[in-house]
Amino acid sequence: MSETSPLFDLDPSLLDDSLDCVHCGLCLSACPTYRITGRENSSPRGRIYLIRGAAEGKIELGGVVAEELGLCLGCRACESECPSGVEYGAMLEKGRAAIADAGLRKGWAYRLEGFALRRIVAFPRRLHAAFSLLGLAQRLGMDRVAGLLLPFVDYARGLLPRVPRAAARRRLPAFTPAQGERRGRVALLEGCVMAELFGDVNRATVRVLARNGYDVVVPEGQGCCGALHAHAGDLSTSRRLATKNVEAFALPGGEPVDAVVSNSAGCGAALGETDQWLPGRGEELARQARDVCEWLDEVGLRAPSGSLAARVCYDDPCHLVHAQGISSAPRRLLSAIPGLELVAHADAESCCGAAGTYNLLQREMSQRVLEPKLDALAAADPDWIATGNPGCMLQIEAGVRARGMAARVVHPVELLDRAYAGSAPGES
């Protein structure tokens, strides 16, 4: 066996990681790209075998290996089935990084992605400016014009909602006091996409946490969590961004917090893995990271007395159910809302195809992955579809609209917020 293959030289740890897989295949049918293609090479086991083969120098690193790591959604459904404890998500990030380092991540779409992630998303002010520009273009109808000229822009346009007006995109207050009996203090990660496109969700999150007796601090200096960069194989930018967040969330406002809360599953998963990105420095942040639903469930939700008569389907974001193993907490919270009927739908735990920037880079597969979910949702016919990740909210909303379904997509905390709003002030 060669220990000087290009992949081995780029990242020797990948060979070790790949040895955790015993080739049992139990992960196969959990994998959306395998379910659709039926191809071993588009399955988790196949991808791990490709990585091992490339690391052992038996096959080339470019070509199929690079393609398959590109076609993988990074949804980590395979990890939820793997008895052998293969850390596939980490392997995927390292594999993509090695392929990028080897100059094999080719094509204009990847270059554009790299540019956008490194030069825009990584800087909150630039991202804000970019969304302002997009909002302006939308209001002037320029995006439609560009869409007529460029099919890609037309497709992307369908995925993006209208950028909200500036008021909804302003920063959250640095401090919001607890309501009722004070139970503690938490810090909130604003997120980049959440802050720009779902300011209302952020505000609802603050209100719900406050209603539950927590002071909410939103530390200065925080930024993008770096998850999108890691998924795109740019681990060095991720580490840089994670370092900033470690600093921002260590004693925010000079006082300790009980948890660092995020309302975006992708960001929460990244925060929870800060220890892996920054060994020795990231442990504290990783220990404190909580998804907002996980936290409310853990400390005990103050049951809302206001009711909300609606049928709701809860759809699991991959980075909540598969990356963090959280699936019952959000369902318990929603069930606590008087009047709300939680309706089960098939396929709740499989990926919607958004997968970070995947729906822009792998359009066809992204749509094929979404279809069965839309079928299941259409069959369940809810009033609301609740899911806790901005990418999933955009993707499912776009799909639901395209099919002309009546259901609307919300974050679970928005439903809690509505229910609290219906409660008499002071009681919860």
Partner: protein, 489 residues
């Protein structure tokens, strides 16, 4: 008698072009790295690169692909999910892999007649899920059921924990449609379960893909029992657990399942996503499942409790609800994979011994493992006497690999010596082909060969599997074929 075909030596370009015309470019794989991933099934030791992989969508496409292979003289091998553990789907001789994973449709569910008609690529667990609302299930439940296909199950005559009460796949397949190696399509058996003449469905089930490619299967569905109780009997050691198995069977009860899990396995599973709260300090756990009429449960439980106490059981835990029962079974079924935590490779053995000899055979098997200094664990269908000694190892260590193979052979010899057989459910494939002479006389094997040749006269369909290739080879008391002699790809 057919000789094994030579490695395909025709023009790959023509083969590929013709196959693309059948299945379309997207479903015909021919780049070296793609082919690399089809080199083996769950038995990774013996990998060979296929010439091409095709993923047909219908019986017609399968028949067309077979016709092309036949015309060009290229061997071909059916494949499902590739979870087989005996190399059944491994493409020898540069075979074309005809993979049924895209043929995943449930074609018909007939609740009244309690049958379902499925394509071969339907995942085993998906069928039970699809009929659950009708109060029905598909009984054969291999531990790989969340991934393996019904086509693969038919070919391997797969069993599972519930085989004890419900039987193996062969008891649940009523009829099949298959493409024979001459590219004709035939229907065998009848959905009624009664079919005059030779029981050809019986011959096809367990034929390991050597008689043709099954393209449609009519299976029997069963009614979900009214009541189910799942009990963990916790013991200090494996032989005591095995003695309870004997006691239960002697008592005349027919539990749905009797599965033993040893300590090493429990610990690996409890460290995995399949953790179910099994006691990691126990020497062994016997999982007992009872099912049937609700009124029978209490009496049976009391009898089991008494028998277990006789065998010195440390504790009995009863699953409190359906969720806990599911957790126990997920843990049991995740057991093989969980052994991956101990070493990069796992050799899953499979043999059957008369139930009464279980305690002694297990002690002897553990002694063999110790003698060869191997990491051995045992998790098995105790009620059927179907053993699965698992050896965790690293194939990159040639010395360890040699010990694994030698120990495996000794274990098989032991099982045959006490009146057992070479495999209970994982099949012969390439893995045990050369051991068939341990169990069968040359004439026995000839009879099998003649049956195969009647279906597969030029030997192009899954060559090199199941039956030793020549009389000479099998008469010469086959030695364990060292895997190092076999090219890795």
């Amino acid at each position: 008698m057919s000789e094994p075909p030579l490695t395909f030596s025709g023009s790959p370009a023509i083969l590929i072009e013709r196959l693309i015309a059948v299945v379309g470019e997207d479903h015909c794989l021919s780049r070296p790295e793609e082919l690399f991933t089809y080199g083996c099934d769950g038995l990774t030791l013996d990998a060979h690169r296929p010439s091409v992989v095709v993923l047909p969508k219908s019986s017609q496409e399968v028949a067309a692909a077979v016709a092309i292979c036949r015309e060009l003289g290229c061997p071909f091998v059916p494949r499902g999910a590739g979870t087989g553990l005996s190399g059944g789907a491994t493409p020898l001789f540069g075979a074309v892999v005809i993979c049924c994973s895209r043929m995943g449709e449930i074609l018909e569910i007939d609740a009244e007649n309690r049958i379902a008609v499925v394509q071969p690529g339907v995942v085993n667990a998906h069928l039970s899920r699809a009929v659950a609302d009708l109060g029905l299930f598909y009984a054969p439940d291999p531990s790989s059921q969340q991934a393996c296909t019904i086509g693969g199950n038919v070919a391997e005559n797969s069993g599972g924990p519930h085989t004890l009460k419900y039987g193996t796949t062969t008891n649940h397949v009523l009829a099949v449609e298959m493409v024979l190696p001459d590219a004709s399509t035939v229907r065998l058996g009848s959905p009624t379960g009664f079919s005059p003449g030779y029981d050809l469905v019986g011959a096809v089930v367990g034929s390991e893909g050597t008689l043709g490619i099954v393209t449609e299967i009519t299976v029997r569905l069963m009614a979900i029992p009214e009541a189910v109780e799942t009990i963990l009997a916790i013991f200090d050691d494996v032989p005591s657990a095995c003695r309870l198995v004997g006691g239960i069977i002697r008592s005349g009860m027919v539990p749905a399942a009797l599965e033993v899990v040893d300590q090493r396995t429990i610990r690996a599973v409890e460290a995995s996503v399949y953790a179910a709260g099994l006691p990691t300090e126990a020497g062994a756990v016997l999982i007992i499942e009872l099912d049937g009429a609700a009124c029978e449960m209490e009496g049976q439980l009391a009898r089991i409790r008494a028998l277990a106490e006789n065998e010195g059981v440390r504790d009995l835990r009863i699953a409190e609800n359906a969720e806990e029962r599911t957790l126990f079974w997920r843990a049991r079924k995740g057991a093989f994979g969980a052994m991956g935590r101990l070493a990069p490779d796992l050799y899953v053995h499979d043999a059957v011994v008369p139930r009464a000899s279980l305690p002694e055979v297990l002690e002897e098997i553990c002694a063999i493992g110790d003698r060869y200094s191997l990491k051995l664990s045992n998790v098995f269908h105790a009620g059927d006497g179907n053993l699965h000694p698992n050896i965790s190892f690293d194939r990159r260590d040639p010395d360890e690999l040699a010990r694994v193979l030698a120990a495996g052979r000794e274990m098989l010899e032991l099982c045959v010596r006490v009146g057992g057989v070479l495999t209970g459910e994982h099949g012969v494939g390439t893995e045990k082909r050369d051991y068939m002479g341990m169990l069968f006389s040359p004439d026995d094997l000839d009879a099998m060969r003649r049956l195969r040749d009647a279906f597969n006269p030029d030997g192009l369909c899954n060559p090199g599997k199941l039956i030793p290739t020549t009389r000479a080879c099998m008469e010469s008391n086959p030695k364990a074929r060292g895997y190092d002699e076999v090219p890795l790809e």
